[in-house]
């Protein structure tokens, strides 16, 4: 059952992204930035948490989920460490993903070459 919920919630978030790309002048880069920021804002006002509770990975795997992790970390940091925590909290909870993206991204780019387009 939780797999179906993850599928539907994740799928719907992707549909929103697709409609933004097809229906407006926004490019995929805009959508990436918009979704992460939206994830941060929606988490801050308490809207995203229930979506995560319901959709599980369907809400945390799409990019708003990255924003969700950042905002949650920043709020937790602020709660525990004041101003310093507000600065470090978000980056800390996103650190694993960012480090992985840098390391694997670099490695794959060094190892592989772009496929010639036919």
């Amino acid at each position: 059952m939780e797999y179906i919920r993850a599928f539907v919630v994740g799928g719907v978030i992707c549909i929103i992204g697709q409609l933004l790309i097809d229906g407006t002048k926004l490019t995929s880069a805009h959508v990436l930035v918009l979704f992460v920021t939206l994830g941060v804002v929606l988490t801050a006002i308490g809207v995203y948490e229930p979506i995560v509770k319901y959709g599980g990975a369907g809400a945390t795997v799409p990019l708003p989920g990255f924003g969700y992790a950042l905002a949650k970390g920043a709020i937790k940091g602020a709660k525990e460490g004041g101003i310093l925590g507000a600065f470090t909290g978000g980056v800390e909870s996103g650190a694993g993903g960012v480090a992985a993206a840098v390391v694997f991204g670099y490695l794959m780019a060094v190892i592989f070459n772009p496929k010639t387009k036919n």
Partner: protein
């Protein structure tokens, strides 16, 4: 050429462009985005469940899942599969975190010939950079606002 004639030509051209621009096939794109995006999330849920059964904390599970998905996104971009998928899946392959990895590897590979510093090192952040700027930036802002409200 008189002014009126020029205007008419411009209008004709605009109509011509409109007629020739391919209309996005909304329904087909939406179905593809839904299915591919949904399936990637199901994979994420599966990874989550595996780690939860290993009694990892919620935060560790989330970090581990993100790292694995980013590895997969980067790897499949490297071997050229992810971009092939992306042609059909659109946002279904862009919006999940694997798409974030894709947005790093694809330009980095493309600009490899410009060297390891200004090619790969710089261009890998051409899309990921803005995402991190706005993501980190807004999260710090949220933390500070939280402090202001709760003082």
């Amino acid at each position: 050429m008189s002014k009126r004639e020029k205007l008419r030509k411009e209008r004709d051209y605009d109509a011509y462009v409109k007629q020739k621009t391919p209309k996005p096939t909304y329904l087909k794109n939406v179905i593809w985005a839904f299915c591919v995006g949904g399936l990637i999330c199901v994979l994420g849920q599966f990874i989550t469940n595996v780690f939860e059964n290993m009694n990892m904390s919620e935060k560790d599970v989330s970090t581990a899942r993100t790292i694995i998905l980013i590895f997969l996104g980067a790897f499949f971009t490297g071997i050229g599969v992810y971009d092939k998928l992306g042609k059909r899946a659109g946002a279904g392959s862009i919006v999940p975190i694997t798409g974030f990895a894709n947005s790093i590897v694809a330009p980095a590979m493309e600009f490899k010939r410009e060297g390891y510093i200004f090619g790969i090192g710089a261009k890998m952040f051409i899309l990921a950079g803005p995402v991190l700027v706005y993501g980190f930036g807004s999260s710090v802002l949220v933390g500070l606002i939280y402090l202001l409200i709760n003082k």
